[in-house]
């Protein structure tokens, strides 16, 4: 086989791979066909990788195979992390994706330098800037999610101006390189500035905004791969990058809508800093609290229960206890559903994965828009570790910092029970009027422990349905 025909054969496998990628995402539309989607994605990627190893340009295999083995050695444990660690794993994989795209761009630059054509220089420059900032940004996000770094937003006065100036500096350096390709020493400076910007982009963002940030970083990682496809004239990279970029972009938009923020608000940093001022004006108002026995009695007397999980459930690792509660109530003939807010947890779909891990059937996990109509017919809404997404002030109080944010209408249920560690305000620092309502019972304690006590009460015959 000649080199040219081998090349054509390889290109053909890339076309097949691109088709496989699209089918993989298409079949992800439902949990029933999703497994098939993953399988075709694996086959498509595998075929493309094997074909590439036969590329006539590849002359030396030893180190490539070692790198592949190292990659698999790192990848498999990262694929086997606990479900509660999925957000940080995802952030880390955005970092790896962006890192490899940036490194390939850098290698291309140094192969061509200093005679880099203007247009190619602009492509490489842009690609390396986006890849580098996504790399450090994702590392910071992963560090916050793993709680190596503080989850609270780190902000200072004039931050946006400083950050934007740093980004502008990276772009000025890139333009200079386009106009004067002989200044090769500017290239590493540009990379360093982009890396710094990535850090500055994510440090001011707090934990509760992670779903948006992680989606946005996903989008950036995708677009940097697509840009790399432009640099290398590799259509399969363009397709994969465009799909990944589009996916991250769609998720970012969904997350923004679910928090009632504009896309520009998110893109230009301001996020994570809103509504931290509201914390001061808290007044002491009476709340009603209940014991596990009382909670168990109320639950066993209900005929329809909606459970609202939040990040607190993930932190307390309470999902398996929640499953026991679900099983017990379902056995009594009580209709139990879960209300999932799009931004509950630390990444899109976080709650669904945790509850699915605990073996709760996915047809009981109901989206915000579909469940909200059911709250008026609900006997008990049980909130486990969620706060701001249930705050009725978002609907009723135009002065509230979260006014306009779509929420779960738990206040319309007949009885509301809230499992919470203390009366401390939620992440956003906003008081939640839900807690002071007549029909609300506060269940103070650790989510896992409290749900466990309710289950114990139910099984020891505390309630007779």
């Amino acid at each position: 086989m000649t080199a040219a025909s081998a090349q054509q054969l390889i290109d053909f496998t890339y076309i097949l791979a691109a088709v496989g990628f699209i089918l993989a995402l298409k079949w992800l539309s439902s949990p029933v066909s999703a497994m098939r989607g993953v399988l075709i994605g694996e086959v498509a990627s595998g075929v493309a990788v094997v074909a590439t190893l036969f590329d006539p340009q590849v002359s030396q295999y030893k180190w490539i195979l070692i790198a592949l083995i190292i990659g698999a050695g790192v990848g498999v444990p990262l694929g086997l992390v606990k479900m509660t660690a999925v957000p940080q794993r995802t952030a880390l994989s955005h970092a790896f994706g962006a890192l490899s795209a940036a490194l390939i761009g850098i290698a291309e630059y140094y192969v061509a330098a200093p005679q880099v054509p203007k247009f190619e220089m602009a492509e490489i420059g842009l690609e390396v800037i986006i890849g580098s900032l996504t790399f450090t940004g994702s590392l910071i996000a992963a560090g916050k999610l793993q709680e190596i770094l503080p989850q609270r937003p780190i902000t200072y006065r004039g931050q946006n101006y400083v950050s934007l100036s740093v980004l502008a500096a990276a772009i000025v350096l890139m333009v200079t390189l386009v106009l004067h390709p002989e200044y090769t020493q500017l290239f590493p400076v540009m990379i360093a500035v982009a890396l710094i910007f990535g850090v500055m982009l994510v440090t001011p963002i707090g934990g509760a905004d992670m779903p948006t940030v992680i989606s946005l970083l996903n989008s950036y990682a995708g677009f940097s791969a697509a840009l790399l496809g432009f640099v290398l004239n590799s259509k399969v990279l363009v397709v994969a990058g465009a799909l990944d970029g589009a996916s991250g972009f769609i998720l970012s938009v969904i997350m923004c809508k679910a928090m009632n923020r504009s896309f520009t608000n998110v893109l230009f940093g301001g996020f994570g800093q809103i509504h931290t001022t509201a914390a001061g004006a808290k007044e002491e108002r009476p709340v009603k609290s209940a014991t596990p026995e009382e909670a168990a009695a109320i639950l066993s007397a209900a005929s329809k229960v909606v459970i609202v999980p939040g990040y607190g459930m993930a932190v307390a690792q309470a999902q398996h206890k929640v499953r026991e509660l679900y099983d017990n109530l379902t056995k009594r003939g009580i209709d139990v559903k879960f209300a999932i807010h799009p931004v509950a947890g630390r990444m899109p779909g976080h709650m669904n994965v945790l509850l699915a891990e605990a073996d709760i059937p996915y047809d009981k996990l109901i989206d915000m828009d579909d469940i909200n109509g059911e709250f008026p017919q609900t006997d008990v809404a049980l909130i486990i570790g969620a706060n701001d997404v249930t705050n009725p002030a978002a609907r009723t109080d135009p002065a509230s910092p979260i006014y306009g944010m779509p929420i779960l209408d738990v206040d319309k249920a007949r009885t509301v029970m809230v499992i919470k560690r203390s009366m401390a305000a939620g992440f956003a620092g906003i008081d939640n009027p839900l807690y002071y309502m007549d029909k609300t019972l506060m269940l103070f304690g650790d989510a896992k422990g409290f749900v466990g006590s309710i289950v114990r009460e139910l099984t020891s015959g505390g309630g007779h349905g």
């Binding site: 444990p77 004239n233 998720l251 009981k364």
Partner: protein, 98 residues
């Protein structure tokens, strides 16, 4: 504007449109697996890394290429493993009883 750029742009725009249409239909239930799957697919940059590392144009390019091979291949392997695990956990009420 180079011809390569125009044809890449063409492919990019079509793929992005197709991506929007297809991903819009992904159930919110599966948004976490969606992200890990697109991550794994995106790791196809490993093919570019293999070429860069295998061409041996300079020591620097080879080393950068090899690091990129390891980083992207770990994403490919890890992304598929975790997506697979997650999707195995999603069972409907009927499937669970049977």
């Amino acid at each position: 504007m180079p011809a390569d750029f125009v044809s890449s742009l063409f492919v990019f725009i079509l793929a992005a449109f197709l991506g929007f249409e297809v991903i819009k239909r992904v159930s919110p239930l599966l948004h976490t697996p969606l992200m890990s799957l697109t991550n794994a697919l995106d790791a196809i940059v490993v093919v570019a890394a293999i070429i860069i590392a295998g061409r041996h144009e300079s020591r620097l390019a080879t080393i950068l290429g090899l690091v990129a091979v390891a980083a992207s291949f770990s994403n490919m392997v890890g992304g598929f493993v975790i997506t697979d695990r997650m999707l195995h956990m999603f069972k409907s009420g009927k499937a669970k009883k049977s």
